[in-house]
Structures are given as C-alpha cells and as structure tokens.
Symmetry: C2
Subunit: 177 residues, 2 copies
C-alpha cells in the first residue's frame, strides 16, 4: 500500500480550527502517515493529536509548515506524487487506479480559496464530485478509494483503549501495553 | 437506488456552524435528498443551501426539527430504515449490503455526545472505522458505500453553472435554463 501524507493548505486561526481538526483525525483514521498543516502553529491541535495517539494508537504525525510551496518541493524531491483535491479537477473515479500505483503520495486539501499555483505544482488535480462540499469528505473519499476500503480494517499500534463493535450501545476495553 | 435522508443531531450555535454546513453540502453532493438539522434554526445555513441549489442545481432540501425523537418516529412511520453512524457500531463494510436493500434510509450523524437513546431508536448502528474522526467523513463514506460510487456521477437538475473537469486550472460554464 502507498505511503500517504496530507498537506492542509491555509489553516486560519479560529475560522478553520474545527475543520482542520476533522481533517487531521480523518487523515489519521483513514491510514495516512502524517498531516502537514500550512498556517499558524495550532497548539490546541497538537494536544488533540497527541492525546488521540496516546489513547487510540500511535504512529500518526502532525507537522506544520510556513509554506506549502516549500513542502511540495521537498516532497517532490523525496519522490512523492502530488495530488490536489479540487472540485475543478479530473474525476477521481477515472484517476484512482493510476494514482494508486504510486509508492508515495502527498494529498493537498484546501480550506480558503487555493492559489492558482497549487493546480500547476500538483501532478494530478482530482475532483470528488464536481459539486462544492467539504475538504474533510474529499480527503476521506480519496483515502478510501486509494486504499480500496482496506483502511476500514487498519490496526493501530500501542493503543491504550479499543472499541469492540456493538449492535446497540458502546463497549470500550483497556489494552495492556 | 435508495431514497436517503440525513438527520444532523444536536446542532449548536457557533460551535457547530461550519461543520454542520459541511454535513449539509456533503449530504447534497453525495446524493441524499434532504438533511434535517436538530437544534437552532440557522438562517445562515438556509442561505448557503438556497444559494447552492440556485447555482449548482436544485432538489436538495434543508429542514429543521426541535426533536430528533419526533423525527425518527415520523420517519419510521413512513417506512424509513434508521442508520446511526457511530464509532461504537458494527463495521459498515459488513453491514452495507443489507442496508443498501432498504428502499428508504434515514442516516443519523451526531455532533456533540449522542444520547444513549439514539443507539436504541436506530435499526442499525454502524461504524466507519472504530477510530474517532469526523461526522462529515462518516457521512460521505456511508453515502459513497450505499450508492457504490454512483453518487460521484450524479447529475443535478436546473443548475445555472457547471464544472468542466480540467487537468490544470478551472473551467466553469453557464448553462441555459
């Protein structure tokens, strides 16, 4: 399976806090290795992710960058294929097989209006429907389609707690480390 | 294809505004017929959805309810199968085939902590991974799996504008009504 990183473009104080937090949790839960947030270095977000890793299993990394351009350049050098999720791009259902073959993928998701340069710096611009919706949903569907549903079964290492699926109600067990 | 409605549980002023808005847009873009928001009657949200329908194609409905219980009762009477998305539920990948056969489905998605009663009022509690993430992602994946990817090709009636997918950049055309 491909190694996937996510780049969150343009994280703004207050306005994007909850949505960026959802993006981070989705990246983690759906099998990405890390998320790199462009914008302000959000201490609350760091705390959320570190608590999440401590309870539910570790391995996922949160990083910050001052410049998406620098990050894209760096990841291109490391051999990553750059995929930008945008409603203006080519349909994911037509592109996903090709992208899945790449060993290392960096997925860019926007928040505020994305600069034109992002479209040209990316190796592929893909749309998850051509309707306006949500970068959280776009990221989830992209990861789900790239991993072909296998991400739904992902095991998390070094978890302290774990859910035992129930038809009704909740069951959470403590794990011995 | 099943007729799908979405019920957004516990929408709160300020805190949930952006995330509920993402839920509404995802419900619309991924082929649900309507979303019913429980909580405060959000005028900004009404405006967002009505503008969206006017530009990108109509048909999607936004409603409000004071009580999820009343809505679930009403939809059960109308023959809807009630599906609650929760990380504590049974894996979606095991349940989706069975659920897909139902003609009418009401999907409940939470925001704040969901009351125990929701688990018992639902016909199925399903998890989209057993990790904490986002109701926006949970809704997108649920609709995507129920519609088997066909929602990605959904046509919207009476749209004023439409995207022509591009490898680089953006192309939006005006449609004659």
């Amino acid at each position: 399976m491909a190694k996937i990183s996510v780049l969150r473009y343009g994280h703004r104080i207050v306005r994007d806090e909850r949505v960026t937090s959802h993006c981070c949790l989705v990246a983690r839960a759906f099998g990405a290795e890390e998320i790199i947030v462009e914008g302000f270095e959000d201490e609350a977000l760091k705390l959320t992710i570190s608590k999440m890793n401590e309870s539910w299993g570790s391995g996922f990394k949160l990083k910050f960058t001052e410049s998406w351009k620098k990050t894209v350049k760096e990841y291109k050098k490391k051999g990553y294929f750059i995929v930008h999720c945008t409603m203006y791009g080519m349909p994911i259902q037509k592109e996903v097989k090709k992208i899945r073959k790449k060993g290392k993928i960096l997925i860019i998701i926007g928040s505020q209006k994305v600069e034109k340069e992002v479209y040209y710096a990316s190796d592929a611009n893909i749309s998850i429907t051509t309707q306006p919706h949500s970068e959280v949903a776009a990221l989830a569907i992209t990861l789900h389609m790239l991993f072909e549903g296998k991400e739904l079964e992902k095991k998390f290492e070094k978890a302290r707690i774990k859910i035992i699926p129930q038809e009704k109600g909740k069951k959470v067990i403590e794990l011995k480390k």
